[in-house]
Symmetry: C2
Subunit: 329 residues, 2 copies
């Protein structure tokens, strides 16, 4: 399912991060970064919720609007029952849709919002997402105090909240088209190698996007997936060539961009729903606005398992949603 848009723009964005992201190469592009992981809250879950709330507050300040001007908030995150988004929505007080596509959540939100704006069903919306390293480690893996070693294929959940303000006013970057993901499951079960589990989903969505829009990979100045990681990125390139005959060009992965992979102990790179939008809303959008990039395909990838399905030995289904962004002349 590929949608085309004529009148939808990401007018403005906001990003709030934790300390690891602030030590990475994109540091200067974020609106705000914290030195610790609690942000003055009592629990990591509340801290994650604050990331969303604060990113929306910063966004509202940037666009000089109040919550009463916003038609819809669309948000989701990795926490059980997406509570980071739910509790933020409670403070923010806007009509709210909760969504979940794991680390592909940001783009699912952009697609739902873009469709409603294109159809003039809403005037505007805010699409948010978050992830929090310690909240995710606690929920999906071992207690962090355990200090268990991880393989090189593992990724490091990014800490951040990212929000985008969508409107039909020509400003920021244009949302040109989007392709909804189809859940893919190749029977892969290693939760320390999410990139391998998600690469087939990314391949499927990129292939269907190019097919539906009749485009070659080179049409885009950048195809950016998030978050496959160093190894998953190579798997995608190989897999999409073998499976679909597509040779990726101008391709990169957000998981490989937000941290300094040589200096920071992040294994194969970043992960978490915040990863793709943190990189895109800060660094990539800046490049689009200053003329370095014209056409960007953002392909957010998500692994759709839970701790329970992993413990009961099920394989990891994955999904990827894609959105095509264009610089405004």
């Amino acid at each position: 399912m590929t949608f085309r848009y004529n009148n939808v723009y990401i007018n403005e964005v906001s990003t709030v991060t934790g300390p690891y992201e602030a030590k990475g190469p994109l540091s200067k592009y974020f609106d705000k970064s914290y030195d610790d992981l609690y942000f003055g809250m009592n629990t990591w879950e509340q801290a994650e919720s604050k990331l969303i709330e604060e990113s929306v507050d910063i966004l509202l300040t940037k666009i000089k609007r109040t919550k009463f001007d916003i038609d819809l908030l669309i948000s989701g995150d990795l926490l059980n029952q997406i509570v980071a988004s739910n509790y933020a929505s409670s403070s923010l007080g806007m009509p709210y849709f909760g969504i979940y596509s794991a680390c592909a959540t940001s783009v699912e939100g952009l697609i739902i919002g873009a469709n409603m704006i294109e159809a003039k069903q809403i005037k505007n919306c805010i699409c948010s997402t978050s992830s929090h390293n310690n909240a995710a480690e606690k929920q999906f893996r071992y207690p962090t105090e355990y200090g268990g070693p991880k393989p090189k294929t593992a990724t490091f959940t990014s800490t951040g909240g990212a929000s985008a303000y969508l409107d039909s006013k020509k400003a920021g970057v244009r949302i040109e088209s989007a392709t909804v993901g189809i859940t893919t499951d190749i029977g892969f079960k290693d939760v320390y190698h999410m990139g391998a589990a998600m690469a087939p989903a990314a391949a499927s969505t990129i292939y269907r996007h190019l097919r539906d829009t009749k485009r070659e990979p080179g049409y885009y100045d950048l195809i950016i997936t998030g978050d496959l990681g160093v190894i998953g990125k190579e798997i995608l390139k190989e897999y999409i060539k073998t499976e679909y005959g597509v040779k990726l060009k101008n391709y990169d992965d957000a998981a490989c961009m937000i941290y300094d992979l040589k200096k920071q102990p992040v294994y194969s790179g970043a992960s978490g729903p915040a990863c793709a939008p943190l990189v895109t809303y800060s660094y990539i959008l800046k490049k689009m606005k200053n003329g370095e990039l014209d056409r960007v395909l953002l392909v957010a990838t998500g692994a759709l398992m839970s701790q329970t399905t992993v413990n009961t030995k099920l394989s990891i289904p994955s999904i990827a949603h894609a959105i095509s962004l264009e610089a405004i002349e």
Copy 2:
């Protein structure tokens, strides 16, 4: 945020339930019911996923379509990371959006789907949801073997999968309008009294729906909430009168309809995302099709906490989404 629709219909629906629902008063209206809670699967989570998959299969058979004819699947459930929906989506192979509004998930899905059909962005979609008593008990409460007593205000998570096929073809019932919920939190913390936590969200959404559409409660032949339960239902009536000056008429609650409250040990009634659609798609739609009901406002209510937020003593935010259904002349 209230949407109006001119060309969206719930053409067909399907319902699959567990044994408790099959012993209730609406038994004969369900498409299929199981005698046990495993449905031939190994775990309760897989069993819940099967409820969605099977309800979609039944729906496809009823409408004489295959998965390749469906533009979009929108689904969500109570399980961590909505895995019942995710794993079903993997088997079903349709473009997929995962959503989460706890027990209000069914109506969130109908609204997203209805907006896209109204705007002709998709031709059709399937909106699904599920809940499973044992999967929910295991995740949110104590092991069922523990047999802990519960207060009368508690509800009993319904077991079922429900799916609706939406299209612009005039058949079934019409979706006339919808109101998106705003998350409400009155500081209430008792997870054994969800009806009290959710009643203010239902009141807010019903009030805003009536205000936006300039209607009186009597406009509807039935306003049906789900799932407030016996006590929550009375709280809503009182709360909406006191807080918004609205006197509910022709009002009932799905939680009070699916079980025999005198004979079945379900405390204050049913709950779970399946509750509202199981009642609406079976019994209510039948009444609309045979002329007993013309206008129905379905108000699905959801409590947006997680086990973690309850354990860390946070209050319970809630949301309600409303959709107006009309019989076709």
